[in-house]
């Protein structure tokens, strides 16, 4: 019996990209439905009634929400191919901790750069670099956060790479100069077909951010 898999998503969403990468890693066929977040579909509102947010993963009619919960669900169900989390409980806890750190810090701090101006933006840029220095410290000299292979933490963070150009340009800084290992890691991840095919073009994201800024009255 074929699985019915649907993903409700929005092309620039880092959270949606996580799910798309996971699905690509597992080789799962799915129907992609693009949402207009200013005009949410009845399906989205039905499947994500609490938060009304994307991504929403619908497996045989049953919805799963929240990107990292979705990725763990995918890893649980399609467990025979390409495990995303390690098997050792301590390594798993360690991976969950850092993915949680990305969730708690990276989106907010990115927003403090692209969705602000003036002094707020300056402060945001400083915080952004601080957060990425912490992430760089955790990466160390490993090729991936997962060690030798791309894993859960890599997947949770790499989507933000597609926003780097926008953040660097608006924040007026060079991430490679500040966190060279992070940029090297990102480029390594992009050599994977699943990541390269999922992440949107950085310039396209920059244009999108520009439109959002106009809408917020920042430009």
């Amino acid at each position: 019996m074929a699985d019915e898999v649907v993903l409700l998503d929005f092309w620039p969403s880092m959270f949606g990209m996580r799910v798309r990468i996971a699905l690509a890693e597992k080789g799962i066929k799915y129907e992609y439905k693009e949402e207009d977040l200013r005009n949410k579909s009845p399906l989205l509102l039905e499947m994500s009634p609490i938060h009304k947010k994307i991504p929403v993963f619908i497996h045989n009619g049953k919805p799963v929400c929240e990107s990292l919960i979705i990725v763990q669900y995918i890893d649980d169900v399609w467990k025979d191919k390409c495990p995303l989390l390690p098997t050792d409980p301590y390594q798993r806890a360690h991976s969950r901790f850092w993915a949680d750190f990305v969730d708690k810090k990276v989106y907010e701090v990115s927003r403090k750069v692209w969705a602000t101006n003036g002094e707020e933006k300056k402060a945001g840029k400083k915080e952004f670099i601080e957060i990425f220095k912490i992430l760089e410290g955790e990466l160390g000299d490993k090729p991936y956060y997962g060690g030798e292979t791309f894993g859960f933490v890599d997947l949770s963070l790499i989507p933000f790479y597609s926003w780097f150009y926008a953040i660097e340009t608006l924040g007026e800084f060079n991430l490679e100069a500040e966190c060279p290992k992070i940029v090297a890691w990102a480029k390594r991840c992009l050599q994977k077909e699943t990541v390269a095919k999922t992440l949107p073009d950085q310039k396209k994201v920059y244009e999108f951010v520009g439109q959002m800024r106009k809408r917020f009255g920042l430009e």
Binding site: V64, C65, Q72, Y73, R92, A93, R96, F97, D100
Partner: protein, 231 residues
């Protein structure tokens, strides 16, 4: 297993600290509870959780594990001979994790807001808290499928996540003169709360409401100065 092989760094009033303690009790694992002094952070805490500098921290052998719900999942995965805390079905697991995250990110955030808010703002937070409880009542119906807990016959992940806030819920009811868990509006949760608090794994770590109420006054006074260590 030697008692000093497993340590929990924490503080008795913290709902987040209760969570790994309940999980360890469910698994019948002996542990040493190292209590942090209110208002300061020990060297051990700063070393074990350099990123967030927060309690709880579980120290297993020499390995620190941080973030309460991550610790609970770790406990479930390590001590497999005890009763399971997470359900075996992947979809049920996703649902429990979803609601645990909702409780932490949305519901308790509104509860915390209620503590210091006044007037219109207070009413707004109260509405959010009550709406959240209505959602959780519905979730309880679906997850428990007529059984005693969100986890079924036994306490599971979501019971631990939400139940750990019951002490503070009772304090909030007293301080604000409101009934949050109500036989009329949330009958399922009212009975669940009684069962949860009476459970052997919970009883010894759930603080008495009066004690917590006294502490909340100390906390309120301290909040007028520096922010207290929490989470």
């Amino acid at each position: 297993m030697a008692k000093n092989d497993v340590k929990v760094l924490g503080a008795w009033p913290s709902p987040y600290v209760m969570r790994p303690r309940i999980a360890l009790n469910i698994k019948s694992v002996n542990y040493e509870f190292l209590e942090e002094t209110f208002g300061s952070k020990s060297e051990l805490l700063l070393q074990s959780n350099p990123v967030h500098k927060k309690i709880p921290v579980l120290i297993h052998g020499d390995k620190p594990i941080c973030e309460s719900m991550i610790i609970v999942e770790y406990i479930d995965e390590v001590w497999t001979s005890g009763p399971s805390i997470l359900p075996s079905d992947p979809y049920d697991r996703a649902i429990q994790r979803f609601w645990a995250a909702y409780v932490d990110e949305k519901w308790f955030a509104a509860m915390r807001g209620l503590r210091s808010a006044q007037g219109e703002e207070r009413k707004a937070f109260l509405d959010q808290v009550t709406e959240g409880l209505a959602l959780l009542e519905e979730a309880f119906g679906k997850c428990s499928k007529g059984k005693a807990f969100f986890g079924g016959d036994r306490i599971g992940l979501l019971d631990i996540a939400f139940g750990s806030f019951l002490g503070w819920l009772k304090v909030t009811e007293k301080v604000n003169g409101v009934k949050l868990l109500d036989e009329a509006k949330t009958p399922g949760l009212v009975k669940w709360a009684e069962r949860f608090c009476a459970d052997a794994a919970v009883k010894s770590v759930m603080p008495e409401t009066e004690k917590l109420l006294e502490f909340s006054k100390v906390l309120a006074a301290k909040m007028k100065g520096a922010p207290p260590p929490k989470n």
